[in-house]
């Protein structure tokens, strides 16, 4: 035990260099070897499906936009994804792992790109799962008088897919804010403030901006299958415009994070 013999392992080649592939593999193993993110994701899916079932069971208005209603449980789910995105980065700082991570992958933009890709992919898969499961559970729970919307309807399918895609976008917004703020509790506060509290308050004050609030985009743009059923006091964005706005928020946060991450001391 006290001697360190020459290892049996020898590197296969020195020709290439550490890059995105290695960084992505490292980030994948980081996610796989922790239980807490998966527990959070599982609880989120269960919660969203549970809410959708409750909405389905209690539906009264047969003319309502049922798809949009059963997908309404996404708001708390989005919060969980946003916080998870924050933690992907801030955990590195709170544990001190960031130093080991950057010693292993010194190219910071490459590292952040890998984190974004790996977390984004997981969040997209789980987000779509949550959205489809919520839709199926919610519509299955509808009272007999209802004609359940079908995924065969392109508008319905679009709504379910887009709501599923909102999860990773809010998650990446959290990742970007986590990279900027670096401190978990503070960054979580910013995410809740920006996405949930601040944006809603802004919407209440100035109706024209209300449509741009992330939660409003999900509930009034992405999930809507019947035009004119949204009853907010503002003109909702078209679905694709709404999705584009969410992507823009995430991109701006991650890009700002990347600039700071590359520049700052670890």
């Amino acid at each position: 035990m006290t001697t360190i013999s020459r290892p049996a392992w020898r590197p296969a080649t020195y020709r290439s260099a550490v890059g995105f592939r290695q960084a992505a593999r490292m980030e994948r193993i980081k996610l796989r070897t922790l239980r807490s993110p998966w527990v959070t994701l599982l609880i989120t899916v269960a919660g969203v499906v549970g809410l959708a079932t409750a909405v389905g069971l209690n539906s009264k208005d047969t003319h309502a936009d049922i798809t949009s209603n059963v997908l309404a449980g996404v708001a708390p789910g989005l919060l969980a994804f946003g916080v998870l995105g924050v933690l992907v980065m801030t955990n590195e700082y709170s544990s001190g792992l960031i130093k080991a991570t950057l010693a292993a992958v010194p190219h910071r933009r490459t590292l952040l790109a890998a984190k974004t890709a790996v977390f984004g992919a997981v969040a997209l898969a789980v987000g779509e799962l949550a959205s489809f499961a919520a839709f199926l559970a919610g519509t299955a729970a509808l009272p007999a008088a209802f004609r359940a919307p079908s995924l065969g309807d392109p508008t319905v399918l679009r709504a379910v897919l887009m709501v599923g895609a909102a999860y990773p976008l809010i998650g990446l917004l959290g990742l970007g804010i986590g990279t900027i703020v670096r401190h978990g509790a503070a960054a979580t506060g910013v995410v809740i403030g920006a996405v949930f509290v601040g944006a809603q308050a802004l919407g209440a004050l100035t109706h024209s901006l209300g449509a741009y609030a992330p939660i409003a985009i999900v509930s009034d743009s992405l999930s809507v299958t019947k035009a004119g059923t949204a009853h907010a006091g503002y003109a909702a964005l078209r679905p694709w415009a709404g999705l584009g706005m969410l992507a823009l928020y995430a991109a701006v946060a991650v890009a700002a994070g990347a600039v700071l991450f590359a520049r700052r001391d670890a």
């Binding site: 035990m1 006290t2 001697t3 360190i4 020459r6 290892p7 049996a8 392992w9 590197p11 296969a12 020195y14 290439s16 260099a17 550490v18 290695q22 960084a23 593999r25 490292m26 994948r28 193993i29 980081k30 070897t33 922790l34 239980r35 807490s36 955990n91 544990s95 001190g96 792992l97 130093k99 080991a100 991570t101 950057l102 010693a103 292993a104 992958v105 010194p106 190219h107 001391d265 670890a266």
Partner: protein
């Protein structure tokens, strides 16, 4: 070989490192000595590209850290006793790092064995004692079988048995021709491990010498160190 030339770093009004130049040669253990807050960790962070120097540069084998093709295979570093996620097992932590160097899991098990952590490999690293955490940090430094090792206060928290273990380990790594830089704020501790000494105080180089020379200077190492670090900065 590690080279620092004119390294300077300022945090607000504090000059953490001030025009620091030195060379760490392969084949021996070099102690990096200085009181608390003298700039040892900052210097090590700059060598590893974690902090950007305000002036000067640090190279490893002639190249800046971020220009190394496979950093983990060229430099093994331990900067903090607990630079891991507390919920991850020791083995998972090493597998995470190994992925960044295309290093197989067999090597992970090999270094766990080398530092005596085979039995604790699957326990949550957050539950580790300071001594075990240090061993995990050393395992992560050894992971890529690097020619250069940079360890910040690795003896901290080790019991006498552990101190002896790390002394033997570092000596044998140096004997294999590796470059080994080990920091400490305790001269008694570092004298047991190092052959060569780089002494800094208030971010400046105070002495670049051998343990034997420093000892000859004022009879005892303790004395020599205190003389150096108290009045050293002119």
């Amino acid at each position: 070989m590690i080279e620092a030339s004119g390294l300077s770093k300022r945090y607000g009004p504090v000059r953490a490192v001030n025009d620091l130049s030195f060379t760490v040669e392969p084949g021996s253990v070099t102690g990096f000595l200085g009181p608390n807050g003298s700039g040892k960790s900052t210097t090590m962070r700059m060598i590893l590209g974690l902090d950007r120097p305000d002036a000067g540069r640090a190279t490893i084998g002639g190249r800046a850290y971020h220009d190394l093709a496979w950093p983990l295979r060229e430099v093994g570093a331990q900067l903090e006793a607990r630079a891991f996620h507390p919920a991850r097992s020791a083995r998972s932590h090493l597998r995470v790092l190994a992925a960044a160097g295309n290093i197989p899991d067999s090597r992970v098990d090999e270094v766990l064995g080398a530092v005596g952590l085979s039995d604790g490999a699957h326990r949550r690293a957050g539950k580790f004692s300071l001594g075990m955490s240090q061993r995990l940090g050393i395992a992560s430094a050894l992971l890529g079988d690097p020619g250069v090792l940079i360890l910040d206060e690795p003896v901290n928290g080790l019991d006498p048995q552990g101190v002896r273990w790390i002394r033997t380990l570092l000596r044998s790594l140096a004997a294999e021709g590796r470059t080994v830089l080990v920091s400490s704020h305790l001269i008694s501790e570092i004298a047991l491990v190092a052959d060569h000494l780089i002494v800094i105080g208030a971010g400046r180089l105070l002495a670049d010498t051998t343990v034997t020379d420093l000892c000859a200077r004022s009879g005892s190492l303790e004395e020599a160190f205190l003389t150096l670090t108290s009045g050293g900065v002119a």
